[in-house]
């Protein structure tokens, strides 16, 4: 025990002496948590719509009015020809084109059917899909009111016999930031824990100080515990800072129990640290460790369900995500913070994490040898 105490003292002193690491721990989470959700906003608003109205009728004017008063669309320009509108799309000034052909109004009244054309810049699939959906919904609404105007309120022909109403649970205001903040917090804790552990041990290797420790009677597990405990503590600190920022900046208060949250973090950090340790045993220079870590972080983040739902992935990719610790963490954070899930709801996640923690750390300790 005494050995570990001295080792811990040494590690903490070194950490607090190194300014760049302190910045990484204190400033990075705060900055990123403030900046990222502001920037990482998938909520679709301000869709730029350009209109080509060849009809110039009262109906078309009313329709255009209806669209822009909905608040979802911004006018990117009223253009005389479809060609000019395409040019706007090429310049990324417009996302959608609504083209109302000449004679639309007359055709609608005489032939009972009128066509309008919507062209969507579909390079960004999400935006294209939602934009087209919104525009369609508005046009449908307009269609109903237009019909009622013509044939009168009590036209029974227009009755819709099934109505649906929606309840949006857990996030009734559909605030996209509620969704992003827990996910970003998960990334931050993983990055800080993983990078710090890996770089710290490799630095001792690169500078040569690890040899000095190797020749002392310090046991293997003492050394590793001495390295892991400080970063485990730091991981918890980063997470707490993150929760605080989430509350102060975005007003997010975890619905679930804080003990559940911290219980999971305690276990999850063991996984992350074990992973960092493993990376440090297989790399010789800091540059190497950084690149290997960066590579895995990237895969973890992309396959973690942060931006796109895991259920939408193909089967092989869903299998890959089962081996991604970050996907469990993101999931649990969202469940506990947004939905208030309890121990029994996340029991599966806990079991998997325990398996990961034991496996990774065991592997890392086996890989680490005092002789080089």
């Amino acid at each position: 025990m005494r050995t570990i105490k001295f080792l811990l003292e040494k590690e903490f002193k070194q950490i607090f002496r190194n300014k760049s690491i302190l910045i990484m721990i204190m400033v990075m989470p705060v900055m990123q948590l403030i900046l990222m959700p502001l920037a990482a906003d998938y909520e679709v608003k301000n869709i730029n719509l350009s209109v080509v109205d060849d009809d110039h009728s009262e109906t078309s004017r009313k329709m255009i009015n209806e669209i822009f008063s909905s608040g979802y669309f911004k006018a990117a320009g009223f253009l005389p020809s479809y060609q000019k509108a395409i040019y706007l799309i090429e310049k990324d000034k417009a996302d959608l084109i609504l083209h109302i052909p000449a004679g639309f109004d007359k055709k609608l009244i005489r032939e009972k059917k009128g066509n309008v054309f919507i062209a969507v810049n579909a390079i960004n699939g999400v935006k294209a899909n939602l934009g087209a959906n919104y525009l369609n919904a508005i046009l449908r609404q307009y269609n109903i009111s237009f019909r009622q105007e013509l044939i009168g309120q009590n036209a029974s022909i227009d009755r819709i016999s099934i109505q649906t109403d929606q309840i949006y649970r857990f996030n009734p205001n559909m605030n996209y930031r509620y969704f992003m903040v827990p996910g970003i917090l998960a990334i931050l804790v993983t990055m800080v824990g993983g990078f710090l552990t890996a770089l710290n041990i490799v630095k001792e290797k690169e500078v040569g100080t690890i040899e000095q420790i190797n020749v002392t009677p310090i046991k293997k597990h003492h050394f590793i515990l001495g390295k892991l405990i400080p970063f485990w503590v730091l991981g918890n600190v980063v997470f707490s800072i993150g929760l605080l920022v989430a509350y102060l900046v975005y007003g997010i208060v975890p619905v679930g129990n804080l003990i559940v949250l911290y219980g999971f973090i305690a276990l999850y950090l063991l996984v992350v640290l074990g992973f960092g340790l493993l990376i440090s045993t297989i790399s010789q220079t800091q540059q190497q460790a950084m690149f290997i870590m960066f590579f895995f972080m990237m895969v973890f983040i992309l396959m973690g369900g942060l931006f796109t739902p895991i259920e939408s992935m193909p089967d092989w990719a869903q299998t890959v995500t089962r081996f991604n610790p970050m996907s469990y963490f993101i999931n649990v954070l969202r469940m506990v913070i947004l939905k208030g899930s309890s121990w029994s709801d996340i029991s599966n996640h806990l079991l998997v994490m325990a398996a990961f923690a034991i496996g990774l750390n065991f592997w890392a300790v086996r890989n680490y040898s005092k002789t080089s």
């Binding site: 760049s20 910045i23 990484m24 990123q32 900046l35 990222m36 920037a39 906003d41 909520e43 679709v44 799309i89 090429e90 009972k112 009128g114 066509n115 309008v116 919507i118 062209a119 969507v120 810049n121 579909a122 390079i123 960004n124 699939g125 999400v126 087209a132 959906n133 369609n136 307009y142 237009f146 016999s161 099934i162 109505q163 649906t164 109403d165 309840i167 949006y168 649970r169 857990f170 559909m174 509620y178 770089l199 190497q288 690149f291 290997i292 960066f294 990237m298 992309l302 396959m303 931006f307 796109t308 259920e311 939408s312 992935m313 193909p314 990719a317 947004l338 899930s341 309890s342 709801d345």
Partner: protein, 384 residues
């Protein structure tokens, strides 16, 4: 290359090119010796393209749905069957109470539930309005929106199928055309983004760390006292990364054409020229960072926090820039990756020519010249 080294005044020695060449070869050996880093450098774009191309999508398919059927009559059974047979939804199980639905939501397995009230069949047949309720897990708002609209469409379809005589007059019909990306794949957005990201990583991070490492280990001093011009020392460090980056661009393009079936619609030569311009921008950024810093960890930190993150955030490939608050939108203009992303998207996907992207090219060129200018001014031959 020679034009910005600033040593035209010195007498030209015929062996300079040869010296540079031997330095470049030395640097190449350094880079090639580190197998693990090299593997990751070339593996990164491949893995990224594969993940983006095949794993990530927003497609709705086989989403688990709960149907809380309080009616248990013929119509409700028909509706249930219709939903179960669509390719968007699979029936999870039938539950009886609202509380059970709630606890399923908390386990996180199910994203939506449809509640069919009592007397559904009776109401339908007697011309009354039936009220269905859709319960959504809106912790992911966009997903909830999309699921909602899919389910609504099925319900409306069911509605008109049981009342075939319902023919509405004065129908406004819409025809939607998805331009550039009719299958709505994510790839189109991501390939240019991955290109910007990888080039940034290789050029900025690798260059700055490689130079600072020589400072940290003390070998920089040896190089500086050699008769070779110090600026050429730095230049010779940059050249291997230029070549590696061009290789990476090639591998990304090959993958996107042959694996993702995403053709290069515009001019390939123009695409390469623009890529080389962007690579030079990144290299000068890397050199600039290395001149400012003295330890590898700090160089990494600056590259990682100061550059990677803004690149992912502000280049516009993951997150739409127009959604950001105005200050962030203004900041995004100084991120080189943003301009490169626009250029690649225009050439590769939209197939536009130089006349449509000369402005972006000019901005990139301006940033590059500025960085080179600053680096030259800050460059000191003596180490502190």
């Amino acid at each position: 290359m020679k034009c910005f080294t600033g040593w035209q005044g010195e007498p030209k020695e015929p062996s300079d090119m040869k010296r540079l060449w031997s330095f470049v070869i030395k640097e190449f050996r350094h880079v090639l010796r580190d197998r693990k880093t090299l593997l990751i450098l070339f593996g990164m774009p491949v893995v990224q393209i594969l993940i983006f191309g095949f794993a990530l999508s927003n497609e709705v398919k086989d989403t688990q749905i709960i149907i809380l059927d309080q009616a248990k009559d013929e119509s409700s059974r028909q509706l249930t069957e219709k939903i179960a047979s669509s390719r968007y939804f699979t029936l999870q199980e039938s539950l009886n109470t609202y509380q059970q639905v709630e606890s399923k939501f908390k386990e996180g397995k199910v994203k939506l539930a449809l509640i069919i009230p009592q007397g559904f069949d009776h109401n339908l047949k007697h011309g009354n309005v039936s009220q269905l309720q859709i319960l959504l897990d809106a912790s992911d708002p966009n997903n909830a929106n999309v699921l909602n609209s899919y389910l609504q469409a099925i319900v409306q379809d069911f509605n008109s199928s049981i009342q075939p005589e319902l023919q509405l007059p004065f129908q406004i019909q819409t025809e939607v055309k998805m331009m550039y990306n009719p299958q709505m794949q994510g790839v189109h957005n991501f390939v240019p983004g991955v290109m910007a990201l990888v080039l940034m990583l290789v050029c900025v991070m690798m260059t700055s760390v490689a130079i600072v490492r020589e400072k940290e280990t003390g070998t920089m001093e040896i190089l500086l006292v050699s008769p070779f011009h110090p600026l050429m020392v730095i230049l010779s460090k940059a050249i291997p990364f230029l070549l590696i980056s061009i290789l990476n661009v090639t591998s990304i393009l090959l993958l996107s054409v042959f694996v993702l079936d995403l053709p290069v619609n515009g001019s390939l030569g123009l695409l390469y020229l623009e890529s080389i311009l962007f690579i030079i921008t990144c290299l000068s950024l890397g050199i600039f960072i290395s001149i400012q810093t003295s330890s590898q960890q700090i160089a990494m930190l600056i590259s990682l926090m100061g550059l990677m993150l803004p690149t992912i955030l502000f280049s516009g490939f993951m997150f739409p820039i127009e959604n950001m608050p105005l200050p962030l939108q203004i900041i995004s203009n100084i991120i080189p990756a943003k301009w490169f992303y626009i250029i690649v998207k225009s050439i590769m996907i939209k197939g536009l020519g130089f006349d449509m992207i000369w402005k972006e090219t000019l901005v990139l060129l301006g940033i590059t010249l500025f960085l080179i200018f600053i680096s030259l001014k800050r460059f000191k031959i003596r180490l502190a």
